[in-house]
Every structure is written in C-alpha cells, then in structure tokens.
Symmetry: C2
Subunit: 208 residues, 2 copies
C-alpha cells in the first residue's frame, strides 16, 4: 500500500498518543479524542485510521493497543535498518540517546567523528569511532545509511567521503543541500524550514 | 500572501542553496540547477520562484543574491521573535548552537533546566537558568514562545508549567502529544515520523 508522507506523519503522531495512553493504562480511544489532541478534524482521523483496516474498532471506540500494533505493522516498524551517525556533537549525541528510533525501525550501530577527544567515548552503549574507520566498518557491517550531524561547512566534504564509502541513504541535519550521485538518496531534515513555519504560524495568529 | 507549508519548506531549501552559492562567490543560478540539486522537477522550482515576483531574473539565470534577499523578505526573516529553550540536554544545546535560527527570525534568549549542575552554564552566549525562574523572566522579557527539548516522560508536566507561565507557542521536540488549552499552539517536530519516512523511502528503493 502506498501511504503519503502526510498520512505517515499523522499515523506517527497517533502512535505517540497511543504510547502515552498505554503508559496511563487507558484501554480505549475515540477518533474525536485523537482529533482534539492534535487539533485536527475528526473526519481526517477516521480517514487515516482506515489505512489500518479498522483495527480494534468496537462500540466504545478503538482498542488502543490494537491500533498501536496495527500502525507498527502497517508502517513496518519491525523491519529494522542499521545506520551510522556521522558527527558526534550535541545533535549526534541527542539522536543517539533518542531510544525511540530503535522501536521505529532505525538501529544506530555507531558514531563517527574526526575529533580524537571524542573517539572511544560510549553513549547509550554506542561507541564513537574515528571517521577514518567508517569505510571499512560500513563494508563489513553492510551499512548503507547514515545520519549526518556535522556543521554546515563540512557537510559536502563529509558527504563525498560517505558516498565513496558506499553509503546510499543520508538523513541530513546540516542546513546545506548536498550534491550526491543519482544512486544516493538524501532526506533533508530542514530544521530551518520548520523554524520558519513555527514563527510564521505565530505571526499569522498575531494578525488575527 | 498565503504560502503553503510545502512551498515555505522548499523556499527554505532554496535559501540553503543560495547561501552555499554565495559562499563560493557564484553570482547566477538557473532553475534546472536548483531542481537538480534537490532532485525535484524544474517546473516546480519555477512555480515556487513566482512567489518572489521573478526577483533577479535575467538572461543568464537568476541573480543568487536577489533571490536570497527576496526569500528573506517574503518569508519575513527579519521579523525576529524571542524564544526560550526548555531542557538543556544535548538536543537543547544543539539547537542553541544552531546559529542559523537567528537569521531565520528566531532569537533564543535563554535556556532552562531543573538540573542544578547545568544552571549558570553559558552556551553560545546564552545562559542556562533554573526552570523556576521561567515565569518571571517570560513576563519581564515578554516571551510567549518556547522550544521544548525535555524527555518524553516530563513533556506534559513541563508543558503545563509553561502554559501557566504565559507561553502561547510551543515547538515540541519531545515524542509526545501535548495537551494544551485552545489559546496555546503546539508545533510538533515529529522526528519519529521523519525517521519512518527516511527508512520507508529506503525500503521503497530496495523493492525497485
């Protein structure tokens, strides 16, 4: 089934809600409750939940656990992919500590940096290696994905190095557009764009 | 002019490209060059640039500097908004170091944490205050925006505190859906959703 980015995005937000509900031992949820929490339209929620083949629907609402498992199955949380984090600065460390990535199918194997002071450090049971070790480790561990968290001015240089090391998929957190060959895919996080949408939204509100 | 989130997002990516070009002293750019870097359609780029009223268009392409300034004007980069970062962990520190936020209209005034070991630290000329100081400082500095970078389990509790302190806009990096009153707006960063789109995209490629 082909699910659009927008729907994937909302299903992930629903999944966050279900996780919170199960933490609080709440067994059932209704679509208006979900809609209300996200301040979106109820009909939108019901439409999205149809991708889950009405999993868990009953008279008193939806069974939270069934919906949660159905989202995990539909979006393929269990098909784990291995990745490296390149750049062991604050952002790289923050993402390494984001345990949730693992439950969403992304398994961080190791970090890389060119700062010898950081090499050998261990964060969340993951080791920081010198960047020079990456080509060999990528090959031996068969890793084709990397999360790029280096400063903007090094982003292209490091990308060229990753591409030469056989990396095929890059999740780019640097505010720079990377030049890559046709067979390499880049997914730009674009924090700046989100920053603008955040501030722009607030300006719109102010004008009301 | 009302510009959709998707267009804002792309204009910000174009802005990244223009910044890189100017760093390298390249004066002109064509829409196919932009399209090629982002692996999107040339017609899409030309359509987006129309929002800038054909700024800088000439025979040899577009003047990079004119386009860049036009994006800044159109998206209101110069209307600076003050914000606090709440949670001085790795993610909070990473965002504090993201100097680019300032040029995109977001001015980080200070950080807050409940860890006394972090209080008094200075990052990028910004000080970490104890969270108990937030209500007073928000009022005196007239700050209504906060970036939330605390762990998931504290997210709701801290949000309630922010709302009671007069915060009206929250950029939420915690993987949790926050309950807020009608007059408070939350913008969810949803790194988990992006993570899934990143891995899902790669799975699609693998199936080709």
């Amino acid at each position: 089934m082909d699910i659009s980015d927008k729907v994937i995005n909302r299903l992930t937000l629903y999944h966050c809600i279900f996780t919170d509900y199960l933490d609080k031992d709440i067994e059932f949820i209704s679509s208006p409750q979900i809609a209300n929490l996200l301040k979106i339209d109820d009909s939108q929620v019901r439409k999205d939940l149809k991708y889950l083949n009405n999993a868990g629907k009953c008279r008193v609402g939806y069974k939270v656990n069934d919906l949660k498992e159905s989202i995990e199955k539909t979006l393929g949380f269990q098909n784990t992919k291995d990745t490296f984090i390149v750049g062991a600065g604050n952002l790289g460390l923050a993402l390494t500590k984001y345990d949730d990535f693992a439950s969403y199918g992304l398994n961080i194997l190791a970090l890389f940096d060119n700062d010898s002071l950081k090499v050998g450090m261990s964060i969340n049971d993951k080791t920081v290696f010198h960047i020079s070790k990456l080509p060999d480790l990528a090959k031996r561990l068969n890793v084709e994905m990397a999360i790029l968290t280096v400063p903007r001015k090094y982003a292209q240089e490091v990308t060229d190095f990753l591409v030469n090391s056989g990396i095929k998929h890059i999740w780019n957190f640097a505010p720079s557009i990377l030049k890559v060959p046709e067979n390499v895919k880049v997914w730009n996080e674009n924090l700046m764009g989100n920053c603008l949408q955040f501030t722009a939204r607030n300006k719109k509100e102010d004008n009301k």
